[in-house]
């Protein structure tokens, strides 16, 4: 009998629901996200405005739905950047060894020494704010961690006999890395990727909260929090809705990462 993997099931359900909500927002939102209902500012939940309205009388639920697009876009772009760059750097460093490994990993250590958010601020200071640049900054933030995981996986498999056998057959180093080693490291990378996704959602919220991430008029959960903070006592719904969305999304991805770890029985990659 297989034990039920409740982490994976619940995590996938949460993320699945949020993804569904986001997909629906592409074709339908209860109200136009920028339509201001002047006479209905700071309202609580009602049949007309499910999660109430904000300081301009805009429908909070519609904006939370639309904010999901930003969250998924930034998350997946950042994770894609992190996984591609991290796997390449970690894979090459681990397989090549010697001074190449030294140089690559010391640079990664250097990046890791900066607090992630400071790094992201630097990237945004250079590239300017905006949705894609936010994703780029967050992606770069995740490269050192992912490259370390890729490198340790490569090191683990590099000395195994089937890799030696591939060398005696005459397989080129790049092909050994891609065909023989990386497929065995994928499970660790999937876990690292889902953790990085959760972290990316948080970072995006943080950057947007500071006003440096996603810019108006694109709705983002982090910026909704910023807009709501002055009105918390008057209208708690306006704050709670995006906060709850962020929490759910992050929780969902963390549960997926734990579930994948349990399913694959890969140990020792706690981040």
């Amino acid at each position: 009998m297989r034990r039920r993997n409740s982490n994976l099931v619940i995590g996938l359900s949460i993320v699945g629901l949020l993804a569904l909500m986001t997909l629906v927002s592409l074709v339908y939102t209860p109200h136009d996200i920028n339509e201001m209902h002047r006479e209905h500012r700071f309202e609580g939940p009602s049949a007309r405005f499910w999660l109430g309205t904000d300081n301009f009388g805009r429908d909070v639920f519609s904006r939370v739905m639309h904010g999901g697009r930003t969250a998924f876009f930034v998350g997946s772009t950042a994770v894609a950047i992190g996984l591609v760059a991290g796997t390449m750097i970690g894979g090459i460093a681990g397989y090549a060894g010697s001074w190449i490994d030294e140089v690559f990993m010391r640079v990664m250590d250097g990046l890791l020494a900066f607090p992630g958010l400071i790094m992201a601020l630097m990237v945004i200071a250079i590239a300017g704010p905006g949705t894609f640049n936010t994703a780029l900054a967050i992606g770069i933030m995740s490269v050192p961690t992912i490259s370390r995981i890729a490198r340790s996986g490569v090191l683990q498999f590099k000395s195994m006999d089937f890799v030696q056998a591939a060398r005696t057959i005459g397989v080129r180093p790049a092909a050994i890395l891609v065909r023989h080693i990386l497929p065995n490291v994928v499970s660790s990378l999937v876990i690292a990727g889902s953790v990085a996704f959760a972290a990316a959602i948080l970072s995006e919220a943080g950057l947007s909260y500071l006003g440096l991430g996603v810019q108006p008029p694109t709705p983002s959960w982090g910026r909704m929090l910023r807009e709501a903070q002055g009105h918390f006592l008057r209208s708690p719904w306006f704050t709670l809705a995006p906060g709850f969305a962020i929490t759910l999304m992050v929780l969902g991805f963390y549960m997926i990462s734990n579930g994948v770890r349990d399913a694959l029985d890969v140990r020792g990659h706690h981040l």
Binding site: D161, F162, A165, T168, H180
Partner: protein
């Protein structure tokens, strides 16, 4: 001029630097293999025996050039491959020299299917159509006793003996000249060992393969090898044709090794006394002066502690029997 021997190893030495500390300064050298020389003809088998840590695997990995040696020559088909670049090795040597590893559980990629494992050498070295490759794979699978119907299965679905057959099939699919087998049967059940050894003998007869067969199991080596090299602490102690070595060995270390082989006796007679060596193999970072075996040799004298014995043939023996000992044993039965 006669054709060059298939393999001629001379003065092969491999040491690994021991690095310590923050700056990775070299603190010493592990002398894994020191000054090993031997030759191998087509279709013949050299057995290499020795206890763990005697440098057997390092020697094998130098010959297939998984490691570059520290010094020496490895002449393969008349060409020195000891310091050949990886690119030239791939072009000229890799397809002709193949290796079989001890543990068939780690020598096959768990994510690949039987077909892709055996097919890979063909994809690397030949431009063949998928159909042609599939035909070749099926032929070699049948030859090593595996059902080609299993070609979609992955290594974990096979038993240890079947996996070693897969490894042999992968090594054979390119029709190599030389197969280096590093303890190929040590991880297998005794009944399976015999099957694999028989298979290797049949293949040799059929394809004219040359083997370097490494084992710590003397009876297996005796069954398959034409010539046996006894290695201790990375040095050759004794080399002789197999039947000769087992009958009239002359090196004290060979004597001790052979006395450790269990023998089933059906009568009441007692065999020769078991010679139990005291102590451990010395540290390879700091091998003893003189003869490396003198610390454990029951016959060691002063000369053994000071002077390294050369590998030479015995005065009244044929040239195939050589050993490194100042005081060879005589009068063995």
């Amino acid at each position: 001029m006669s054709a060059p021997r298939l393999l001629e190893v001379s003065g092969l030495t491999k040491s690994f630097p021991v690095k310590t500390g923050l700056l990775q300064r070299t603190k010493g050298q592990v002398h894994a293999v020191t000054d090993v020389s031997f030759g191998l003809e087509r279709g013949r088998t050299i057995g290499i025996v020795g206890e763990s840590g005697s440098g057997k695997s390092t020697l094998a990995k130098c010959i297939v050039r998984l490691y570059p040696p520290t010094a020496g020559r490895i002449s393969f088909r008349g060409e020195d491959i000891a310091f050949m670049t990886e690119r030239r090795l791939r072009a000229d040597v890799r397809a002709r020299v193949q290796m079989i590893f001890q543990d068939p559980y780690s020598s096959l990629n768990p994510r690949h299917t039987l077909l892709s494992i055996v097919d890979e050498p063909l994809r690397v070295h030949h431009r063949l159509s998928a159909v042609e490759r599939g035909y070749r794979v099926d032929t070699v699978l049948e030859r090593v006793g595996l059902d080609p119907a299993f070609r979609r299965r992955r290594p974990h679905e096979f038993s240890g003996g079947q996996r070693q057959r897969i490894a042999i099939a992968r090594a054979l699919v390119l029709n190599p000249d030389l197969l280096v087998a590093d303890e190929p049967v040590s991880a297998l059940d005794v009944s399976i060992q015999a099957q694999i050894v028989t298979l290797m003998q049949d293949l040799q007869e059929e394809l004219g393969l040359a083997y370097i067969f490494i084992s710590h199991d003397l009876s297996v080596v005796r069954a398959i090898a034409d010539t046996v090299i006894v290695l201790y602490l990375g040095r050759i102690m004794e080399v002789a044709p197999a039947d000769r070595l087992f009958a009239c060995f002359a090196h004290p270390y060979t004597e001790a090794l052979l006395s450790a082989v269990p023998v089933v006796r059906t009568d009441d007679t007692k065999g020769p006394p078991r010679i139990i060596l005291s102590g451990d193999q010395p540290d390879a970072t700091d091998p003893p002066a003189g003869c490396v075996f003198h610390t454990r040799c029951p016959y060691a004298r002063d000369r053994c502690r000071n002077e390294v014995p050369a590998v030479r043939s015995l005065p009244d023996q044929d040239e195939g029997h050589r050993l490194a000992c100042h005081f060879p044993l005589t009068g063995q039965s």
